[in-house]
């Protein structure tokens, strides 16, 4: 704890993190959440009990599972967290990225010492028709939806425009798809553990021209949970904390056509700027990044907006394999990303934090380990870019 000009500056660490496998679960909401929470609780090195938790923030779009209101209370009830203040955080696909930020802020403010942040989504217990309803409700329903757009359509508009404005093409998106399937192949929590060839990914079924099936993430069931603690009590639980060095977040206009650019996500740019400033770091310092690749074009744009490549050079970045684990300048989506690991909407943000926590502690499956990983970043986007949360994690605290 740093006291500066009378202000108490609390540092926040992740002391435990766990998740379910992503995919098509037989478990319901309660079972999935209990499994993620159990995995997170058991990952704390010592002395942790759920009753020590002061507060919880749980992200969910409330897609399936049949419990829309008071979801969070139901989940804490079934994970030994009865009685604590809890709420559902909803920011579309960035729900648990913002739950993580809220949890971080609760500790930073001095109001809580131990906070749970998590997320959950049950997407595969609905009919195809009802599923498409939920997949559409986070976009701009009044204008985009009535123009026939779903998220594949919105991102397809971005992709085609990016190809027009910059040195990029669908081949670059295929490279991203191939990389993420390769990264996720050995991830025991991944939804799709299957390597794909360039030729196969190139010739996928057209979903929204120019995006094919291999450009789109799957709809997954899953839950994820991280446990945060204030610096003055971290040592009670672990000798190997992973520090949240900063949190940045921003919003943008909901509809793509209302934004100044359709090939940049300004919310990502602002959130990452704030995060880099908060951590005293630049994009060059990041060893690995879990970025929001709901569609391959989203990863391409994220590499630009997060500063890993120059604006307009995301295609070149992908083409040259600069995001490949232990080969490129920064490992992009070591988990396989949303494309391979899966995308249970509300669980994705804290699921990214679970991966970074394990990578920085060196506890992922051996072949997946990013070498000498000291600093990781998570990038969680809501919808087509209306909300974004970026977090930077490190083995060391901020200086």
């Amino acid at each position: 704890m740093l006291v500066l000009l009378g202000l108490v500056m609390v540092d926040v660490a992740v002391i435990g993190a766990g998740q379910t496998k992503y995919g098509n679960h037989q478990l319901g909401l309660k079972g999935m959440w209990a499994e993620a929470a159990e995995n997170a609780f058991s990952s704390v090195d010592h002395n942790f009990e759920p009753r020590q938790v002061d507060e919880a923030f749980i992200g969910s779009v409330a897609f399936g599972g049949g419990q829309l209101g008071n979801t969070a209370a139901l989940l804490t009830e079934h994970s030994g967290l009865d009685g604590i203040p809890v709420r559902r955080v909803e920011n579309a696909c960035a729900s648990s990225g913002f739950a993580l930020r809220d949890a971080w802020m609760a500790i930073k403010s001095g109001q809580a010492d131990i906070v749970v942040a998590g997320g959950i989504e049950k997407m595969n217990d609905l009919s195809a028709e009802r599923k498409r309803f939920w997949l559409g409700v986070s976009g701009d329903t009044e204008w985009e939806r009535l123009a026939g757009l779903t998220f594949p359509g919105t991102y397809a508009l971005m992709a085609r425009r990016h190809f027009h404005e910059h040195d990029s093409s669908h081949d670059d998106l295929v490279n991203i798809s191939v990389k993420n399937h390769m990264h996720g192949f050995e991830n025991e929590h991944a939804h799709i553990r299957k390597q794909v060839s360039f030729e196969k990914a190139e010739s996928g079924f057209m979903v929204a021209d120019p995006l094919t099936l291999y450009d789109c993430c799957p709809t997954s069931d899953g839950a994820s949970c991280v446990i945060l603690a204030a610096d003055h009590i971290v040592q009670q639980f672990t000798d190997d904390p992973i520090w949240i060095r900063s949190s940045g977040a921003a919003s943008d206009r909901l509809a793509l056509h209302d934004r100044p650019s359709v090939t940049q996500l300004l919310a990502t740019q602002k959130a990452s700027r704030d995060a880099y400033t908060g951590a005293g770091l630049t994009s060059n310092d990041i060893d690995l990044a879990e970025v929001h690749d709901c569609f391959t074009i989203a990863e391409l744009m994220a590499t630009e907006d997060l500063g890993f490549s120059e604006q307009g050079q995301g295609g070149v970045f992908a083409r040259e394999g600069r995001g490949v684990r232990n080969e490129g300048s920064v490992c992009i989506n070591p988990s396989g990303g949303l494309k391979s690991k899966g995308h249970p909407l509300g669980a994705t943000g804290t699921g990214q934090a679970v991966e970074v926590f394990k990578q920085l502690r060196g506890t992922v499956e051996g072949s997946r380990q990013v070498r000498d990983a000291e600093i990781g970043l998570t990038h969680n986007v809501g919808g087509s870019g209306a909300t974004c949360a970026v977090h930077i994690f490190g083995r060391e605290r901020n200086e």
Partner: protein, 300 residues
């Protein structure tokens, strides 16, 4: 081909006298007689003129009134037939009617919009005694299976108990933006046009209501075509029949961007930089109410 059809009296067809001007207008065929207009669908099925896949008397009435406006006629109010949605006509064109405004008096209304038994309409002065129209020649026979499937899909979609599994746009939500959606009404703030309309500015002040309309032409900045399986569920009954749905991201000359479906009755391979114009067409139906909006047509 001279199309035999039932016209509302007192209008009659002539054959090939050359006294009327034929043209295409917003996907329809129009015959301009100066002070009156005959407008019809381009499609024929079973020897009858029928509406295209996203057209109906309301969309064609709007097109007809807009044509007359484009020719300098000042139509302020009009008598509409029951088959035309008066509110949509008013929002799209600004032309009032007794069906929309109870305060209007019949004798004050100078224009009539008369529906034929087939997909034909006439816009004319109320005091017109008779006008002659030369029939448009270039109608197209619509594929029978396609026509029947689309008709059936719309019938199912319009049933009151049919609740779309798509995003729920309530009636009030739809109507809040309907004027901007149907007429490109936009806000003007210090010369900058804002469309679709917004509420408060960064000073917390209310942005003035729509006072201008965007020029109804725009350039394509991007486009996509969603497969039938990937189309939003609002369109799930019709998308498979149409072979998917096509959306354009366009920029208007005055600055704003927008996204628009392409009309359902054209084959179009868009290119970035293309110029498009717009026509009011059906978008989808929910709980018995048809939602109308502008759709794009390539300018050829």
């Amino acid at each position: 081909m001279l199309v035999a059809q039932e016209l509302p009296a007192p209008f009659t067809f002539l054959g090939g006298s050359g006294m009327s001007e034929h043209s295409h207008w917003k996907g329809y065929l129009v015959v301009d007689n100066g002070d009156s207009l005959f407008i019809q669908s381009s499609y024929v099925h079973d020897d009858k003129i029928v509406y295209g896949p996203d057209s109906d008397p309301t969309t064609m009435a709007i097109a007809g009134i807009q044509f007359m406006h484009s020719k300098g006629h000042h139509i302020l109010s009009i008598n509409l037939s029951d088959s035309v949605d008066a509110l949509t006509v008013y929002l799209a064109t600004g032309v009032d009617s007794m069906a929309h405004n109870e305060d209007l008096k019949f004798e004050e209304i100078e224009w009539d919009l008369l529906s034929g038994e087939e997909a034909t309409l006439v816009v004319a002065k109320s005091n017109a005694e008779s006008y002659d129209f030369e029939a448009p020649q270039d109608v197209e026979i619509i594929d029978a299976d396609f026509f029947n499937d689309i008709e059936e899909a719309w019938r199912l979609e319009q049933e009151v108990h049919h609740v779309s599994q798509g995003a729920y746009i309530s009636k009030s939500q739809y109507l809040e933006g309907a004027r901007a959606r149907l007429s490109l009404a936009s806000q003007n703030v210090d010369g900058s046009m804002i469309w679709p309309p917004r509420q408060l500015d960064a000073d917390g002040l209310r942005i003035p209501p729509e006072s201008h309309t965007l020029l109804p032409e725009a350039q394509v900045e991007s486009w996509t075509k969603l497969s039938a399986a990937g189309a939003p569920s609002e369109f799930s009954l019709r998308a498979p029949i149409l072979g998917g749905i096509q959306t354009l991201l366009v920029r208007f000359e005055q600055g704003p961007r927008g996204v628009f479906l392409v009309t359902d009755d054209i084959e179009y391979s868009p290119k970035i930089g293309d110029t498009v114009h717009f026509a009011v067409r059906r978008i989808y139906a929910q709980e018995g109410m048809i939602r109308y909006g502008l759709k794009a047509i390539p300018k050829r």
